[in-house]
Each structure stands twice: as structure tokens, then as C-alpha cells.
Amino acid sequence: MRIDSLQQLTGGTRRPPSLVWVFAIGVAVVTLIPAIYTVIRALGASGTSVLPPWPLFLQLVTNTVLLAVASAILSGVIGVTQALLIERSQLWGRTVWRIVAALPLAIPPYVLSICMLALLRPRGLVERWLVERELVAFGDIPFAAIFGLPGSTIVLAFCLSPYIYLPVAAVLRQGSNHLSEIAQISGASTWYRLRHVTLPLIAPAAGGGMLLVMLYALADFGVPALLRLPTFSTAIYGRFTGQIDREGAALLSLPLIVATLGLIVLEEWLAGRGGAQINRSWRPRLVRQLGWWQAGAQLLLGTLSVIALVAPLGTLLYWSWLPLSPSEQASLIAWPKLISIGANNIAFVALVATLTTVLAITPALLLRRGGKIGVVVARLSQAGYALPGVVVALSIVLLVNQGAVWLAGGLVPLVLAYIIRFLPQAVQSLDAAFEQIAPSIEEVGRSLGQSALRVLYRIVMPLAAPGLRASWALLFLSMLKELPATLLLRPAGFDTLAVRIWMPASDGFYTAAAAPALLLIVGALVPVALVLRNQYR
């Protein structure tokens, strides 16, 4: 037998062992079935289940789409501005700003909504403060504007801006500076370089981040529910909780599933066009002298962080010191009980994040090593992206109800919901980790007679370990903040911090939500630190 190449010797490039295929297909089936089942139930919906009348339906579509697009654009502007100022200018306190710009990751959007409501709603803290000092009378300033689309957009954009800031900053720091240098030597102005060199360079990273924000905004439940913006998520939640039969909610999920699928296709298309890195060799960063603009830059970054960090944290801390009204006191939880809920929550989330990371390994491996079929299998396991938390919960309830009644009432449905909802995120970040490993290293392992499984265990996994850790941290963060699926699937006696925030806040008892919110933010700081460490390693 003649051996043509190393590839032939190792049995195809880096073809994963069959065990990987079996697992990956299993994962894809588990994540896919609830989505398909929801669609089947929706199409078979009959009798009293109706779609909303045309005007309301149109309003839901408009609100949902506008919220997604507007928050993506606003968070894009915020994130790119922060990244440019921090990485490409002679900014004072760069290290501090790097951390500050990533910190909104630790603040769930619904917590920011609660704080904004308390501060800015009519007769809120700000208006009352102004009226007490006789600066204005009640109703002089239209505080009601906090409700609806403007408020929801601002809250989502500020909380989600790290999704754009982090990847864009990474590109600006690691990316090649050659083009920029050449442009400068050729006499291009700063603005010209920004428009024709830097922006095209960061466009793929920013675009990917903005798509993530859009997906998040399409699926988000807490913010529009608190700020009274009717969207598909809130409407589905209303039907899920408001009537005994589930078909009405399934019917309403259909348009949302379709819209999200469209976005994923768009994401795939954008990723395919991904940035061409001409030269990876390092060159010192080109930083712009700020001169008198330094104060302006500091002021801008400061204002952004006041809205996203200082305002919510200040409000929460203020509430923790405040004496409570009797009606508020009833919904308050004692600290020891709260800490036990927090510890339980963190243990649960850590377990499920670990489980999800492990499950994501096989689909992520197939993404680049499994050929065309591998990509299809991996993509199928990402169906969760198409399903907002409310819909994931609904689909699991429908399925358990039909096929596995004995699972009802336990923790299993909730664990399944977390896995289905966040597996795509894990596959995405694991893929990035596996991508970095040079094929030749694995091929050497195979050519030295090691089995594919052993190469995976001894070479691929250890090399991908930092990526695994980062992916785990992001999962932990997302699961800790998860609200709608937890709200709908938690068994009695199982509380998370998010639920403890939501219960009083949805009734307008904001102060009682302060303590669990502070605890959740503290818990979220640990994974944020892990993410930051990974970014600046």
C-alpha cells in the first residue's frame, strides 16, 4: 500500500472519532425536539386559540423589531466608541476604563429597568427630589417617557454594550496595524483612517456583537414587561400564564421563531464574510493623542458608566439603607434566607454550566472537523437561539406533558431549559477555542500512532482549556441572570436570585428587590473577572 500523504495516514484530516459523532447527534436531537414539537402544536392549534387581531399583531411585530434594531444600533455606537477611545487613544486610566466598560455584563437588564423605573418614573425619586426643592411641579417633566420603546432601548443597549465592546476592543488590540500605518504614511487624515481603515477592520466584530444584541432583545422578557412595552415575549408569557391551554402561547411563538431563524442565517452569512487578517505579526498600537479632547473623552466614558453602573448600583445601595413602608416589608426576605438562596442558585448554575460546557464539546468539534454533515449537526444543536426563554419553557412543558409526565414538577425541565437555551452560546465560544489549535499538532499525534480519542483527550482538550474556562464563565453569567424560563419552570421551594428580584419588582415593590439584586451582581462579578482575564491574557 502506498501512502500519499500524512492526511491519508491519519485517516482524513482531523476526523473526530465516531463517539464524538454519536454524542453530537444525541445533543442535537435533545435540543431540537422541543422546538419542532412547539411548531407542530402551534400548527395544530384549534378551537379557542386565536392569533391576536391584526392591529395588535402588527403592534407586536413593530415593537419587537424596533426594540431589537434600536438596541443593537445604540449598543453598537456605545461599544465601538468605548473600544476606540480605550484602545486607540492616549486615554488616562486606560486599565480602569477597560474594566468599567465590561462591567455592565454583571448587571441584568431587568435590574437596570427596576432602577430606572424607581428613579425616573412619574413620582419617582428624581421627580420627588425636584418637587421637594420646588424646582418643578409634579407633571412638569414628561417622566412617562421612561415607559415603552425609548426606555427599553436605552436599558438593553447599556446592559448589552459589552457584547460589542469586548470583541471590538480585542480586534483593535490584536489586529494588524499595518493598514493604518500605511494610510498614515500616505498622508491620510485621522477621520479618513477611521472611516476607511479602522471601521472596516472592526466591522465584522461589531456586526457579530450587534446581532447577538438583536437576538437578546428579540428574546428578552424582563425589560419590556417592566417597562410596559408589548412584545412577542411578553405576549407569549401572558398567554402561558393566563390560560390553562398551551396552544395559544405556541401559536404566538411561531412568528418569533421565524424571525430569530432569519437572524441566525444572517449571522452565518456575516461570519462567512469574516475579517481578512492579512498579517498577524505584532506592531505597536497607533494611539491618537487626545490633547484637549482628553476631558471630553473622560466625560463621555464617565457619563456612559454613570447610566449603566453608578445609577443602578447607587439606587440599590440607597434602598438597602432605606427604612421600608409596611406594604414593602411583607415582601422582604431576611438576609440569611437570601444568602442561602444565593448559594443554592450559584451551586445550581455552576453545575448546569459545567454540564452544558461538556455537552457543547462534541458539536463544537464537529463544526470545523466534521465536514459538511458535521456543520449541519452542530448548527442543529443551536436551535435554542431560535427560542427565547419563554418559548423554551413552553416547549419543554408541552413535551413533558405529552411524553414524560413523571418529569413534571422536578428540576429536570429547568435544567433542560437552561441547556437548550444556552448551548448555542457554549458551542460558539468552544468553536473559537478549538479553532486556535493548529491542525498539524493533532496530525502529529495521530501519526505517532495515538487513537483519535486519545489525541482529543491528551492534546486538543488541554490546549483548549482556557477557552473552555471562558465559555463556562459566560454560561454561568447568562444562567445566573436567566429569568423567564426559571419563572415558569421552577419547582416549588426552588428559588433563584432572579426570581426573588422579579417577584416583588413586578408588583412595583422595588425596594424589596434591592438586596437580591445586589447579591446577584456580586455573584456575577466572578465570571466577569474570568471573562476579562481571558480577554487580556
Binding site: 400564564t241 448559594a343 416549588a492
Partner: protein, 341 residues
């Protein structure tokens, strides 16, 4: 060395996983699992009083919306998790009982309760009563211009100024079901369409509704009577008035709804469920509902709190609960079809 460190890591992680799963799975032995459709803040003092009486019983409270929990109970029928279900609307209980989600219970004093306020088979009992009323902000609406009927809320002068619950709210579902039995489909539909056309705001939480009237975001709204009593005792936003609507001859009268309670079929902690039922209808607890939350007690010899007008003073709508319960799904579908979220 490297291998040993890895084994150590695995050991640590394994122990941690084991310990935390033990913590997660730890089951209290003497528990009572309460499914509650009531606002959590209103339920907690009652739970606290029960715990004070039975410190050895661990109460687990799961709060949600009436129909969400009713659906959960039906879904868990093979493996029931809850013991007692308390809702803000007896129609939910009537329908759940018909679908086999509740079991019969008898306790001390249960047969002395008003027969109209309990199931003949003992699957549910009314706990408290409240009425649907109109609350207005006194800075924006005067007593003599305030609407005197539910049907006045669709008048153009209230355009964009009315707030009420959305279609997932139990008492509103009961109200629409009652209006369907009293006035028929055409009149009720016209009223609901009028509300939507009048740019009424539909919100998910009762407390949010009363506070938004107190703060002047909306001039008036449809509430349960106790929400008015709670709002006028607030430090801020107490500037509210109430109309007990539809009192004229020929009008439908006050729509009274009840919170209800029943033992879930196959309740795992049946004895504790029984204790809780008995506790709910004790004089002390009924007084707690009256004085903390200004509801009308279901037990006849416990009166409402001081200053609360007794229901006997009003022209109360005469509603057949069984036929009203029949029409709840129709009421929900009707609200959804006219565009109420």
C-alpha cells in the same frame, strides 16, 4: 506530578459537585407546598402566621398566575408536587375541580360556611371576597365627574386615561365571564372593543395598576376594592377616590369575586394541607385577611376591617358561578380577539 495535580482537581470538583447536588436535592420531610395565584406580598403574612403556629412545618410557596398554576397542577397529575392551591378567583377552582385537579377536604367548621361559597363536594372553598370597582386620582378627576358605571369607561373623555389588568388576570377574567352571563356576547364584546379603541392601558400586576393611578400616570382604572384601601394608606400617591359602580336600578350591580382554596389531588403532604385549610378559615386568619389586606372575610361572623363599607350596603350583581365558570375560556378568547394583551 502533573497527573497527580489533575487527579486532585478532579477530586475537588467531584466532591463539590456531590455536595452541591446533595444540597439541591435535600428534601424537607415535614413540608407544605403552597401554590398561590395571589400577589406574593399578600400571601407572605398569612404564611408567616401559619409558620408561627406550626414551626415544625416547612412551607414552600410557589407564586404565579391562577391559570399558570392550574395548568401546572394538571400537568403534574401523575406526580403531584403541590398540596394546596389558593387563587384569586373561584372560577379557576371550579374549572380545575371539573378537570380533576382538586380533591375533597373537610375540616372543622367547613360545613358552616355559606353553601354558595364552597363546592358541594368540598373541592374548593371561598376564602375572601372583594368587588370590582373604579379608582380615580382625585387631582385629575372629581367625585361628581367620575364614571359611575363600567360601561362609562369607553366614553371618549377618558381616552388614554384608563388603566386595568390584562387578559391573564383572574379577577378580570371573572369579571368578563360574569358580564358575558349578564349581558351576553354582543354587549360585552362592544365594551371590550370600546376599551381598546379608547387606548386603555392593560397591565400585568394589580399593585402596578393602583400605583400608576396614585402617581397620576393614569386618571382612573378598574381595581379590586382592597387595592383602593391599600393605595389611600400609601405615604405617597394616596390622592385616590373610589366609585362602587353600576348601582342604579337596571344596572348590573357590583361584581363580587372571591379568592378560593382547595387541596390538590394526590397532595403529598395531605395532613399539613388539612391543617392549612383549617387555619385559613379560623377567625384569627380571616381577621388577618380583613385587616392586613382589607378583603371581605368569607366566614360570616368575621366582619370587614373598620371603615370598610359592608357588601350588604351595595346592589350586588346576581351571578350564577357555575355558568360563569363555563364561560371563562370564552372570556379569555374574547379579550384576546379584541386585542387585549
Amino acid at each position: 506530578m502533573h497527573i497527580r495535580r489533575r487527579i486532585f482537581h478532579f477530586f475537588v470538583i467531584g466532591m463539590w459537585v456531590l455536595l452541591s447536588s446533595c444540597q439541591l436535592l435535600a428534601q424537607e420531610t415535614n413540608t407544605l407546598v403552597l401554590y398561590s395565584g395571589r400577589t406574593e406580598a399578600f400571601m407572605k403574612p398569612i404564611v408567616a402566621a401559619f409558620q408561627a403556629r406550626y414551626p415544625e412545618i416547612q412551607v414552600q410557596l410557589k407564586s404565579g398566575k391562577n391559570n399558570e398554576l392550574a395548568a401546572t397542577i394538571l400537568e403534574e397529575h401523575a406526580n403531584p408536587q403541590g398540596d394546596v392551591f389558593i387563587s384569586t378567583d373561584q372560577l379557576t377552582h371550579i374549572n380545575l375541580s371539573r378537570q380533576g385537579g382538586l380533591q375533597s377536604s373537610v375540616f372543622a367548621g367547613s360545613n358552616t360556611l355559606d353553601p354558595r361559597m364552597r363546592a358541594s363536594d368540598g373541592t374548593w372553598y371561598a376564602v375572601t371576597l372583594r368587588a370590582r370597582a373604579i379608582m380615580y386620582n382625585t387631582d385629575m378627576v372629581t367625585a361628581d365627574t367620575a364614571p359611575q358605571s363600567m360601561f362609562d369607561l369607553v366614553e371618549p373623555r377618558w381616552r388614554g386615561q384608563v388603566v386595568m389588568a390584562d387578559s391573564s388576570n383572574g379577577p378580570l377574567q371573572a369579571q368578563v365571564a360574569a358580564m358575558l352571563t349578564l349581558h351576553g356576547e354582543a354587549v360585552t364584546r362592544a365594551w371590550l372593543e370600546g376599551l381598546v379603541a379608547n387606548q386603555t392601558m392593560f397591565l400585568g400586576a394589580a399593585t402596578d395598576i393602583r400605583k400608576s393611578i396614585g402617581s397620576g400616570e393614569y386618571a382612573l382604572g378598574v381595581i379590586n376594592t382592597y387595592n383602593y384601601e391599600l393605595q389611600r394608606r400609601e405615604a405617597d400617591g394616596a390622592n385616590v377616590g373610589i366609585v362602587y359602580p353600576d348601582q342604579q336600578a337596571g344596572q348590573m350591580g357590583l361584581l363580587v369575586n372571591t379568592t378560593a382554596v382547595g387541596v390538590i389531588r394526590g397532595a403529598p403532604n395531605e395532613r399539613n394541607a388539612q391543617r392549612f385549610m383549617e387555619f385559613l378559615f379560623s377567625t384569627d386568619t380571616q381577621r388577618l385577611f380583613a385587616e392586613l389586606n382589607f378583603e371581605y372575610p368569607a366566614v360570616a361572623d368575621v366582619g370587614p376591617a373598620d371603615g370598610i363599607p359592608p357588601l350588604a350596603r351595595f346592589h350586588v350583581a346576581d351571578i350564577d358561578m357555575q355558568s360563569s365558570a363555563d364561560r371563562v375560556p370564552e372570556a379569555i378568547a374574547l379579550m384576546q380577539s379584541v386585542g387585549i394583551p
